[in-house]
Amino acid sequence: MTSREHQVSLCNCVPLLRRLLCDAPWRKARPLHALSRYFRSRVSPSKMAEEPQSVLQLPTSIAAGGEGLTDVSPETTTPEPPSSAAVSPGTEEPAGDTKKKIDILLKAVGDTPIMKTKKWAVERTRTIQGLIDFIKKFLKLVASEQLFIYVNQSFAPSPDQEVGTLYECFGSDGKLVLHYCKSQAWG
């Protein structure tokens, strides 16, 4: 359909839907969002190009044991992350403001391995270096391998920078999105 037809079909969306349901089976296979821009899925086209795993997963999935709302690390052979109370999958601690954890969403860049659990609740005072060490252990990277973390896909904060400060300044929708990469992605 042309975009003109898309706009026209907006007014006729209900009859259009009815027509579809009556169409031949091979036509029903077309995704709804392709019919009109108003039916477009919530995920933007660029994000659709990413692998489905990178979409935000709440850690209550039953995929791997231990990814629930506990402080236990996932049921893999990964060694216990350092001071595991500082980084836990998705829990919120009801403590005072400075102890409260913030939500971090980790996204892999390039051919860097993707973390099974992407959303983490992290103490505000955790440093970027602490987070790097944690991710490296989780992904079973060798200590000598480098890992870079980026904010806003534009700058790499200093290793001693606290995640709480980054969240205050660059967080959105209640979380801080961080991209991680084995090589320098954004210089």
């Binding site: 806003n152 534009s154 904060p157 200093s158 400060t165 300044c169």
Partner: protein
């Protein structure tokens, strides 16, 4: 009336006379012969007119240098390193690090910030101890090369622009512009640096300032490394926010009660700007080359 641009020059060319002394325990060889380079009776009143990067050897284990406030320790101390390495055994030399009165100095903080925060109430020169052993892993980042300093500097600039312009200005620049910013800092070239940096100090005509002000507030009395938050330069009613407004919002303990005695100094580049100064103006004129306002809150000196 002084042009505001003169302020930019004054900030850029600020210098701190610093005396570097090699840590006693690390002196491993060499006869203890005093070595006097330039006139050893040079008084520190004259120091401010000395060419900035010349090195004055006072004794073989002690040298005097004028440090640029806006630069970084590991960027400007090559001569210090070379000089002291001559008096040490090769195998004893590992990464250089600096300390003031027992506090390791973070090379990734600008020199002027370190001085204001730690030593501004003491007499000049700033006495820094040089170490080549026992690197304090817990306190300091490693500085493997000049590239590491460049990477850190550029990252700070990008973070500042993310706050000021949603990264639009810095992302529109070419790689060679980024390089020019770094080379300008590294080679102490004011014009070279500001030819590009001025673009980062602009804002859309319809606005009255940047989106948010890049600032960091440091205190030695707290555990936190620094305070950095989102803060707009302009209020909803169009009034320009001042330095006082910022402090009231993010660090109220820094503001002294009006009728009480002055307990704190709010210092940038060795001066105490008036609290009524518009924050937007401070950001445009008193930022460090990384485009951040690095503000020190220090106890009022009791002398």
């Amino acid at each position: 009336m002084t042009d505001d641009k003169d302020v930019l020059r004054d900030v850029w060319f600020g210098r701190i006379p610093t005396c570097f002394t090699l840590y006693q325990d690390e002196i491993t060889e060499r006869e203890a012969e005093p070595y006097y380079g330039k006139d050893s009776s040079v008084s520190f009143n004259v120091v401010s007119s000395l060419p900035s990067m010349m090195l004055y050897t006072l004794e073989w284990n002690r040298i005097l240098l004028l440090l640029p406030r806006v630069s970084y320790l590991t960027l400007v101390t090559d001569k210090v390193k070379k000089h002291f390495q001559k008096v040490m055994r090769q195998e004893d030399i590992s990464e250089i690090w600096f300390e003031y009165e027992g506090t390791p100095l973070k090379w990734h903080y600008p020199i002027g910030l370190l001085f204001d925060l730690l030593a501004s109430s003491s007499a000049l020169p700033w006495n820094i101890t040089v170490h080549f052993k026992s690197f304090p892993e817990k306190d300091l980042l490693h500085c493997p090369s000049k590239d590491a300093i460049e990477a850190h500097f550029m990252s700070c600039m990008k973070e500042a622009d993310a706050l000021k312009h949603k990264s639009q200005v810095i992302n529109e620049m070419q790689k060679k512009d980024h390089k020019q910013l770094w080379m300008g800092l590294q080679n102490d070239r004011f014009d070279q640096f500001w030819a590009i940096n001025r673009k980062l100090m602009e804002y859309p005509a319809e606005e009255n300032g940047f989106r948010y002000i890049p600032f960091r507030i440091y205190q030695t009395t707290t555990e936190r490394p620094f305070i950095q938050k989102l803060f707009r330069p302009v209020a909803a009613d169009g009034q320009l926010h001042t330095l006082g407004d910022l402090l009231k919002e993010v660090c109220p303990s820094a503001i002294d009660p009006e009728d009480g005695e002055k307990k704190n100094q709010v210092m940038i580049h060795g001066i105490e700007p008036m609290l009524e100064t518009p924050l937007q103006w401070l950001s445009e004129h008193l930022s460090y080359p990384d485009n951040f306002l690095h503000i020190s809150i220090i106890p009022q000196p009791t002398d």
